[in-house]
Amino acid sequence: MKYVDEFRDGQKARVLIKEIESLVSTMTMPPERPLYIMEVCGGHTHSIFRYGLEGMLPKEIELIHGPGCPVCVLPMGRVDDCVSIAENPKVIFATFGDAMRVPGSKKSLLQAKAEGTDVRMVYSPMDALTLARKNPDREVVFFGLGFETTMPSTALTILQAEAEGIENFSVFCNHITIVPTIKAILDSPGLQLDGFLGPGHVSMVIGTAPYEFIANFYNKPMVVAGFEPLDILQSIWMVLKQIKEGRSEVENQYARVVPDGGNAAALQAVSKVYELREFFEWRGLGSIDHSGVKLRDEYARYDAEQKFAIPNLKIADPKSCQCGEVLKGVIKPWQCKVFGSACTPEKPLGALMVSSEGACAAYYQYGGVKRFKEAV
C-alpha cells in the first residue's frame, strides 16, 4: 500500500532502534526505574501492540498506555443511557462499531440489539443522517463519541441536518476533550512520567499549541506522533533526545498530517455547535472538569438529551476494577487483580478490556512485553 508500507519498513526500524539504543546508553536514567513514556492515544496503543514495538525497545524504556481510547473511558451509566434511548421503539440508534460491546450496568448495546432493539452500526455520523432521511417516521439518534478527532464530523452532520431541515435526527453527545484529561493525569499524586507521545489525529484538528502547558508548566517533553510504527519509534527517539538535552518542548513528528495551527474549518464547526460541560464523568478516572462537550442551546432540537428522557444515573465502576490505576500508569494491565480472571475480552469488567485500543484488551490479545517475554 502506497504511503503506508513506507512507514512500516523493518530495515528503517532497525536503524531507528539502534539510534534509540545508543541515545539511551548515553543518558542518565532515573534511579531504580525505566523511563516512562505515555502514549496518550488508543490508536498508538493499537499500533504498538500490532507491530510488537514494546519487544523491540530497550528495557530502559517503558510505554504507559494512556486514556485516549474514547470507548474505554465511557462510564457504565452512559452506556445504560444509550440502551434506554435505543429501547424506545421509535428510535433507530446509530453507533460506531466498537462502542457496541461496552458493558453497561445491565447490558451492552450488542445485547440490546439481540433483544430486538434497533441498533445500527455506522461508519460516520453522515451514515446516521442518511438513515434519518430514509426513515422519516423514525427518530434516528447518533451516539456521538470520541475526542476532537470525531467531534468535527458530528458537528458538521448537525449543521447538515439543519441545512436540510431534517428533524428526526439527534445526537447523544459524549464527545470528550483530551487536554483537561492530560492535565488531570499530570496532577495525580505519585505520578511518574518522563514524556508524552501526543495524539496525532486529535492534533490534526486542534493543532499543537494546546499542549504548550505540558512543556512549560509540567516540564515534560511532548511529541505529537503519527500512527505508523516508524512514526512511533521516531517520536520516542525525539522524546528521548529532549530528555537527554534537558529540554521540554512540544514537537511535531506528524507534520505531514498535523498543521501546527490545527484545522480552522473543523475548529469553527466545533465551536459553532458545542460548548464545554462543567464536568464529565470518565470511567476509571472519575469526574474531570471541562472534559466533555454538549450541544449549544441553538442546536437543542438535535440534542438527544433534550429530546428524550434519559435516566442519567451514575453507576460506580466495579470495586475490583483497577482501570484508573492502569490509565494513569500506576500499575501495568497484568498487575490488576482481575486481569485475565474476572475481566477478559469475553466478559469485560473494566473499560480497558473492551475495545482493541484499550491497554488491557491489547495486552490480553497481543501479549504485552513482560508477559510476552515470559511466554515466548
Partner: protein, 355 residues
Amino acid sequence: MNVAPFIRTRKLGKVSVETVTLAHGGGGKAMKDLIDDVFVAAFDNHALAPLEDQARFELAELALHGDRLAFTTDSFVVDPLFFPGGNIGDLAVCGTVNDLAVGAATPLYLSCAFIIEEGTSIDVLRKVARSMAMTAREAGVAIVTGDTKVVQRGACDKLFITTTGIGVIRQGLTLGVDTVRPDDVMLVNGLLGDHGAAILCARGDMALDTLIESDCACLHGLIQTVLAAAPGIRFMRDATRGGLATVLNEIAEASQVGIEIDEAATPIREQVKAFCEILGLDPLYLANEGKILCVVPPDQAEAALAAMRSHPLGRDSAIIGHATDGQPGRVVMRTVFGGRRIVDMLVGEQLPRIC
C-alpha cells in the same frame, strides 16, 4: 463418478407464479411443482429423480474409493445472497465439498435443505439451484436428496441452505488437528481474506467500492494434488469463518505446539489490505471460502508448495510459518516491522475501530 443415465417416467410439475408463498411449503401440488421445476430440474441425477424419502447407495460402490466414510454438514445464511465472485448456492456446495476434502476424503454425495422466506422470488431460487448444480458437477459430486421449507416473512432472511456431504477416505490417509509436531511447515494456497472483504463490501453499509471478489471454490482437486506430493501431510483445514488466525489457534491448541508465522510471507491482496486498513479490521480474521491451511513435515514442504502452485487454485500458495516447541497453544506472528505479536482467537465478531 459413473452415473447411469436415468430415464424419467413421470412428468415434472411447473411453477407458474413469480414468488414463493406459504403454499409452496404446504406439502401439496404447489410444493411438488416447486421441487420439480426448480430443484429436480437443476440437480437431475439417478439417485434424486425417483424422489424417495432417502437417497440409496451401493456400499460396494462407495468402497471403491477407500475404507472410511466422511460425513459433514454446514449451513449457509450469507447476506447478500449474490455477491461478487459467487452466490449462496456456490458457497453451499463448495463449503461442504471442502469440509470433506480437507479430511482427505473424495467428496461424492450432497444433500441440500432449503429454508425459504415467503416472498422470495422463484427466479432467485432458480439461479441459486443452477449455480449449485453447476458447481456440484464441476466438483464431481451429486446432490441426491433434499428438503424445502417455506417460513413466514421475517422468520428467516430470504434463503438459508444446509448441505450435508458424504465422502470416502482413501486407505492409509489419517489427517488430524492434533498430529502437528514442532518444525512442521504451514502453507496456504493463496491470497487471504477475499471472501470476507467481498461480503462486507457487497452488504453496502460501508459505502466502499472495491473490485474484491469472493474466493469461493471447491478445493478437492488442489487437495488431491497436495496429498500426492506430500503423503506425510499432517492436517488441512479450510480457513472459513474466523479466518487463518482461528485455524492456527485450533492447531496450536489441539497439537499443543507453538506456531510462528511471518507477516511478510502471508499472502494478502493489496485491496484487501487497504480495505482492512480503512476499517480497522485484521485480515487474518477475515473469512475465506477457497483457502486452506496445510501442515506438512519439513522435508515435504517444498514438494507440497510446488504441487499447490502447479494447480490453478494454488498459484499464489506460500509457506507462511511453522510449528515450534514454544508455549503450547500460542500463535505468534513476526511482523513486517521486525516485532512479534500474539495472534489470539477472536473473542466476538470483529468490530471496526472508531478512529
